[in-house]
Every structure is written in C-alpha cells, then in structure tokens.
C-alpha cells in the first residue's frame, strides 16, 4: 500500500513573531513541522506498523528549508521524502494544492497512492483549504478533520467531529484524509530514528506552475486587540451590568 503524507513548516506557536519597521521579523522564529501534519504522519506510521507492506512517502512544497522537516519525517518513520521544487513562487492554497497534486501524480505515475494524509490546516495562516483542493485535483474522495480511524476489511471507518456531534463515515481507497487534533498522540523522534533517517535520501520532484494564484495577500500588520477592562466589585454588579446595560441575561 502506498501512503503519501503532505507536510509543511510553520513558526513554532510558542515563538513570538516580531514586527520591525513595517515588516515581519522572522529572525527569532523557530520553524517546526505543522502540528496537524504530525497527526497525519503518525497515523500513516501506525498503519504501516499494524499492517506492514506500506511505503510512506512524505511530500513538502516549501522552500529549501523544507529539507529539515522532511528529515524529521524520515526520523519519525517515513520511508521516502520528496521536496517539491517549483520554478515559480507558490503563494496561495490553490497553488500549493496544485504543485502537490502534480508532484504526487508524477511520483506515482501512472497510478495514484492508496491513501494521502494531510494536516487539516497549517497553524500559521489557518486556511484549511489545501487538503480538499488537493483531493479534488487528484480526483479522490476526501474526509477533512478526522478524529479516529479504523481500517476494516474493505474500507476505512472514520469519525469526524461536527457541531454538537460525531459523523461516522466509511471511505474506500484511494482517499485523502486530513487530520484533526485528538486523532492520535504523535511520537517523538528517537535517536535510532534519526540515525536511520541519515541513511535515507531526500529526493526532489520538479514541477511546473503557470497558473496564477486565486487569492493574494496584500497586507500584513500587527493586530492589537486590547480592550479597557472595567473591574467590577462583585457578582451582583456583574449580573446587573450584563442584564441592564447589555441585555445579555
């Protein structure tokens, strides 16, 4: 079984992103694997451990720095890693999905992988668009934001959290699944994993991109959300204000 996992890099959520002279200062930012992608990779590795016969290939469409994240993916149990290299700059979810779909199509040609895993969104821009777009381009079924997965004989039984409940879904391969927090507890890299990863190579797939982006980001500025807090002396006061002034109770 061929499993593709798409990963990207994001600023560590713990690092503070600076703003100097009207531009973002990334100098103190620590780049890490997108947390949602860790669930994606972990789920793929667990499938392989449980059933054997799986080959996991990780794809990343980010710049040269992506090698770092691909190395980490290899250390965590992926078999092969592919950096997707592209002549033009990739700037929006549509283009990201497009270059990933071309890389995956090329790499597995003439077939398609049986399963594709993606994190449900990147924590930096939180568009949550790439997985479903990629599935549409690959002509695959997809389920976004899965919280549990059980392979049965002929299908995958999947749970997804919806507003106020859970959806129970059956899907057959090939399919693309995007992963939500709570799906699993990703492992940490082990020394043995890191050593083994050194023996594996990070390949490159060259893809073309002539399509313009669908969406362009034209401004980025610090967000100030300070309010002036009125401290109230006691609970009765609070209730009075909320009911009389704001009509909320």
């Amino acid at each position: 079984m061929n499993i593709a996992v798409c990963v990207c890099q994001v600023p560590d959520t713990a690092s503070l992103i600076g703003y100097v002279d009207g531009a973002i200062d990334y100098s103190r930012v620590n780049e890490v694997m997108n947390p949602y992608d860790e669930y994606a990779l972990e789920e793929a590795v667990r499938l392989k451990e449980r059933f054997g016969g799986c080959v996991i290939t990780v794809f990343s469409a980010a710049s040269d720095a992506a090698k770092e994240v691909l190395r980490k993916a290899l250390a965590l149990g992926a078999d092969r890693a592919v950096r997707v290299s592209c002549s033009a700059e990739v700037s929006d979810p549509f283009q990201t999905a497009l270059v990933l779909s071309r890389a995956i199509t090329d790499f597995y040609s003439p077939a398609l992988p049986d399963l594709v895993f993606c994190g449900k969104q990147a924590t930096d821009f939180q568009s949550a668009q790439v997985p479903s777009m990629l599935a549409e381009m690959l002509g695959m079924a997809s389920v976004s934001g899965i919280t549990s997965m059980n392979p049965s004989l002929d299908s995958l039984r999947i749970n997804r959290e919806i507003e106020g409940g859970i959806e129970y879904i059956d899907v057959t391969c090939p399919a693309l699944l995007s992963t939500e927090k709570g799906l699993n507890q990703p492992r940490k890299t082990s020394i043995r994993g890191v050593m083994e990863a050194r023996k594996k190579t990070v390949g490159t797939v060259q893809v073309s991109l002539h399509e313009a982006p669908y969406v362009v980001m034209n401004a980025l500025e610090p967000l100030e959300r300070k309010k002036t807090c009125s401290f109230v002396p006691d609970e009765d006061d609070l209730i009075r204000i909320l009911s009389q002034k704001h009509n909320l109770l």
Binding site: P11, T13, S132, E136, M137, S144, V171, V215, R225
Partner: protein
C-alpha cells in the same frame, strides 16, 4: 449584476441557524450593493416551514430534497451546488463557517475556478477583500480574490443581522442528478448528536475554563453556569490536554474559533493562542485571581478572585436574579 448563492446547510432535516443568519446577512449585502439577486441552495430533505418568518428578503431557494441527500455526502453535495451555481450563472457563493462548509468549499473552489476566502465578515464581501487574524492572532492579514467568481465562508458573528425577517421566499425543487457509483464515497453511515448543551461554535453564551479550574471537578461549576444561561462549556488548551474536557470544547488556535455574544473566561490566563479563538466574541468577562493576567487586556469586565469562590457566589446571585425575571 451580482448573483449571490447561499448554501443552506441542514442536519437531520433542520436548516442550521447560522445558515439562516448567513442568508440574512447576504440579503443585507445585496440591498447595500443594489443590482443583486440572492438565491439559496438547500441540499437534503428538510422542514422548510421552519424557514417562514426567519428569512429576510426575496429570493429563490433551490431544494434538492432527495432522501439520499439527508446525510452529508461530499461528492453529491459538491455536484448539486456546482450545478446550481453554473446553471444560475452565479457570481458569488456564501457559506456559514461549519465543518461541512470547510469540507465542501475548497473542492468547489477548484471545480468552479473561484477564489475561496474564509474567515470573512459580510462587509468583506462588500469591499472585495477579507482581513482575518493569522499567526496565532498576532497579525491581521488582508486577502484579495483574483478570480471573477468567489466563494466566501462567513465567520459567525456576535452581531446579529439587522435585516427584518419575513421575506418572500419561493422554493423550487431541483431535479435529481444522475450519479455514478464513484460518487457515493465517502459515505456518512450515521451521525450521533450529543445531548444537552449547544456546541461552542454555535452557542450564544460560552462559559470557558482553563488551568485555574484546577481539574475536571472544577468544571461542574461551569456546567451549572452554562445550564442556567442556556450556554455551552468551553475549555482552554491546558484543560483539554490535561484530559479535563473533550477536544470538541477547545477554543483557540488548535481548537475552535467562536463568536458568542457573551464569553466568560474563568481561570484562563489568556495565552495569545487562546485569544486567537475569541477575537469575534461580543462581551468578554474574565474571572481570574491574577489581576495582571493577559486575559484582562481583552476583557470588557473583570472580576478578580479565586474561581472556586467567585463562581459559587455568581451562581447563587444568578439564580436569585433569574427568579425575578
């Protein structure tokens, strides 16, 4: 001319409130812009009488009421919406921000070659661009759609539409599509709804707790408060990671983004990742023993004190208050 199409989401035959509110907000937008037509697409069998009086403006709602569309099916739904969008020569497609729309909209963006913008408020559609928080809510990014046709996912909004309901809506049945076998994957076998409280993403009032609640037992106070107010219980990342509350209740960067009219933050210090989830909340009330906690910087009202002392008193006062109402 603008031709707006609003996706109306039904779950178990009931059209979602935030879909109706999206419809009303789009009607408002259409009135503002002039020269605009609003229609809706409702997929799956649904009780449409409930919509009488709740929906504003005039318009047509295309209803695909086949029984097999009762449960969400990505390919069926995408097909029906794309067909309607093309047949009616629409320019813009609007969704409420839900799990279903996040699954469906990116697929439609590719299929219709339309720009997809999420996290919008209606006025964004007015100025043809959207601003939304990125990088854990520490920056505001502006995005512009480059395609002629556009898809907007509207954030839920603490502000209710000022549009007066009671419009003149016509329902038109959509002819069943022909589907191939490939179209029925993935299949939603069933959905099971939790009993009791509303979901945090839809609640008008949220009572959220963090590390300061001290443990799972501490949250019973919040449950009581939520029950009294008809609201939902929310949790910070710490409370979820500690196993005190389920992930479905997590609010913040790796949880849900919420927009209640009233938000109680109890024993939550106010990490930037948490604040990223409550940017659109209406009135924020913070209860914390540390007067310098960052949560007070984004709160409208603050009560300093131990939640275990303040909350029981608040519950008692509230019960008294509600008796008099």
């Amino acid at each position: 001319m603008n031709k707006f199409l609003v996706f109306l989401e039904q779950r178990e035959g009931v059209v979602k409130k935030n879909s109706i509110s999206t419809w009303n907000r789009v009607q408002e937008l259409a009135a503002l812009r002039g020269n605009s037509v609003v229609s809706g697409i409702l997929v799956g069998p649904a009780e449409i009488r409930q919509l009488d009086g709740a929906m504003a403006g005039n318009g047509m709602i295309y209803h695909a009421k086949e029984e097999r569309l009762r449960l969400y099916s990505q390919e069926y739904y995408a097909g029906v919406v794309a067909d309607t969008f093309k047949r009616e020569d629409c320019t813009d497609l609007f969704f409420a921000d839900t799990v279903m729309s996040r699954d469906l909209a990116p697929r439609l963006s590719v299929r219709l070659q339309a720009s997809l913008l999420n996290g919008c408020i209606t006025s964004d559609a007015e100025v043809d661009g959207v601003s939304r928080p990125v990088y854990s809510g520490s920056f505001l990014a502006s995005f512009i759609p480059k395609r002629y046709q556009r898809i907007f996912i509207l954030s839920s909004d603490a502000q209710l539409s000022s549009c007066s309901a009671g419009g003149n809506i016509d329902f038109i049945d959509v002819e069943p599509r022909s589907f191939s076998i490939k179209d029925i994957v993935p299949v939603v076998r069933q959905i099971v709804m939790r009993e009791g409280m509303p979901d945090v993403s839809e609640a008008r009032i949220i009572v959220a707790g963090g590390r300061g609640m001290g443990g799972a037992e501490g949250f019973t106070l919040l449950e009581q408060l939520a029950l009294l107010l008809g609201g939902a219980v929310g949790a910070s990342r710490t409370a979820v990671d500690e196993g005190w509350r389920p992930h479905a209740e997590q609010i913040g960067q790796t949880g849900k983004t919420v927009a209640p009219a009233l938000y109680f933050a109890c024993g939550i210090s106010g990490a930037v990742q948490h604040l990223a989830g409550i940017g659109s909340a209406g009135i924020v009330v913070a209860i914390n023993c540390d007067r310098h906690a960052p949560i007070f910087d984004v709160a409208d009202y603050g009560l300093t004190g131990d939640v275990h002392i303040v909350l029981p008193k608040l519950l008692d006062s509230l019960k008294e208050f509600l008796k008099t109402q």
